[in-house]
Amino acid sequence: MLAKIRSDFWFEFLSSPVTVVSAAIIVVLVLACTFAPLVAPHTPFDPATISILDNNMPPAWVSGADGRFLLGTDMQGRDVLSAMLYGGRISLMVGLGAVALSTLIGMAVGLATGYFGGVTDAVLMRIAEIQFAFPPILIALLFNGVLKTTLPADLFARAAVPIMILAIGLAGWVQFARIVRASVLVQRSQDYVAACQAIGLPTIIIILRHITPNVLGPVLVLAMLQIAVAIVTEATLSFLGLGTPLTAPSLGALIQAGSQFLFSGIWWVVIFPGAMLLIMVVAFNLVADWVRDYLNPRLR
């Protein structure tokens, strides 16, 4: 179903200017952050290249600014723009990684429970139900909090990104499992599945080769929406001091560090990373909204 792009894809895409702009913003942000070491004007987290004398410089267009730092510097003299690019890289990495993990677990559980039913279904869905009673951000928070108190501080700091991916990914699989299971239940009673069984195809082939492609649509939409959610969750955990360390901060950790200087009138260390986070999240949400409407025939 999704293997081939429908012929109206580009037409529908190009006739929605908001979506085109959002997609363009995502591409630019992903490229700029991925190649942060090449793009960024400074290397903000290398102590050899920063000078404390450059601290708290306002953005370049404000009087008293230094032209070397387009968006100003923070309290340690680090270039805000460069820190944002490096931070955005961590945010994107965690967001994409966590959603990939949620999707993987959710698909596996959803396919298994939907196709086999019985005890597997009952047990896994009860677990899912218990987890669903708690908002994902709370689960990720508790998971992270538990690890932070158990692991030695330096190990937690070094493994911050994989830990965040694990925490947010494990917190988000239930929704994927639910929609996959619901779609599989519909698909399983279709004639093509009966035909597959009749010609003696192995179960694993029926599930992966024949059913999976037919449940991918809603999964894709949910995954796109969840990227934005995961990025926000990561930023929030980092803001609460449970996420990335200050030696390699994500956007959320940058905002947290900056927010302590709000009352000294140093607004640029909060506003710019905040704006980047917001633009990133809104862009992902808008593209996801469009994909959902595009795949939903009833709204056309």
Binding site: A133, P135, L141, I255
Partner: protein, 322 residues
């Protein structure tokens, strides 16, 4: 009735599961004895303390004791405050409840009319503006919104206090900071931050449901009968959007509790959320476990209330048919 009884049984099983998770997870983190003692405490004293806290008993015994005590509202002594956990929760609870209630009411009062309006006038300028704002509302991380509000209203304009809970007043025997002007001015920004996300979610859901319902045949038929627009929208359409909307509101109530952790951190609001963050920082296991179970209880109860409302509003469930 049968429906509600099944739900009640399910809810108790869920709560037992939550208690088990809380118990197991927190059984394996940190060492409470290390958190309680100083450097000069002897090994014998540590062992005695371990024995006294019941940390040497088999896991199953500890779990049974845990559930039994929890049922009586006894969650033990906080390791970091050396005080009764249930007492501390009771102390912090009102602050969180007033924040959650205020923002919940705000969200519903704004979301329902706006959702109905945007569902009916899909293409209008105002509706488009509301929808655009709602995208930002569900996208902006609440901590960022909180910081921005502090920057604008506290740092630049100096209109509103940036942290803490205001004076507490008494009205009809209830003590709450919502009954004083100072308290309200403290609660305004946190409540606004907390409600915005829920506002966006509920608004978008009501709009989507209205759009779905308005394209059905019976609505077209109602128009053909010449019924006034008000009656078609409110009586025929709105009523049939209620089931998913009530579900969502139930879920949103529980997420208000979760998100209040963030809001409380940003505005240094002395509620349960800041208590939880403190507990994580100090690996205060009894406090963590109590928080988890308490929140689980709130979520399970709100789900139960949602189920009860289903019975009231959906005849298909009331009469046991499908």
């Amino acid at each position: 009735m049968y429906f509600l009884v099944t739900r009640l049984v399910q809810a108790s099983i869920v709560m037992l599961g939550v208690a088990l998770v809380g118990f197991l997870v927190f059984q394996f983190i940190g060492d409470p004895v290390l958190a309680l003692v100083g450097q000069e405490t002897t090994i014998e004293d540590r062992e005695a303390l371990r024995e006294r806290l019941g940390l040497n008993d088999p896991l199953l015994v500890q779990y049974a004791r845990f559930v039994g005590n929890a049922l009586q509202g006894d969650f033990g002594i906080s390791y970091s405050f050396n005080r009764d956990v249930s007492e501390m929760i009771a102390e912090r609870l009102p602050a969180t409840i007033e924040l959650v209630l205020l923002s919940g009411v705000l969200a519903l009062a704004l979301a329902i009319p706006a959702g109905i309006y945007t569902g009916i006038r899909r293409k209008g300028g105002l509706a488009q503006t509301i929808m655009a704002l709602s995208v930002i509302g569900v996208s902006i991380p609440s901590f960022l919104l909180g910081i921005l509000l502090i920057l604008v209203f506290s740092v630049w304009l100096n209109w509103l206090p940036s942290f803490g809970r205001g004076d507490v007043g008494t009205f009809l025997g209830i003590r709450s900071s919502l009954f004083t002007l100072d308290g309200l001015s403290h609660a305004l920004m946190p409540a606004a931050v907390l409600c915005l996300f829920q506002l966006g979610v509920i608004l978008r859901l009501i709009r989507a449901e209205m759009l779905e319902v308005l394209r059905t045949d019976y609505i077209r038929f109602a128009w053909a009968r010449g019924l006034p627009g008000r009656r078609v929208y409110m009586h025929h359409a709105l009523k049939n959007t209620l089931v998913p909307v009530v579900t969502a509101i139930g879920l949103q109530l529980s997420s208000l509790f979760a998100f209040s952790i963030i809001t409380e951190k940003v505005f240094q609001w002395p509620g349960m959320g800041s208590l939880l963050l403190h507990a994580i920082g100090q690996s205060d296991i009894p406090l963590l476990a109590a928080y988890l179970i308490f929140v689980g209880l709130v979520f399970t109860l709100s789900n139960l209330v949602v189920d009860a409302i289903y019975v009231a509003i959906d005849p298909r469930i009331r009469h046991g048919g499908r």
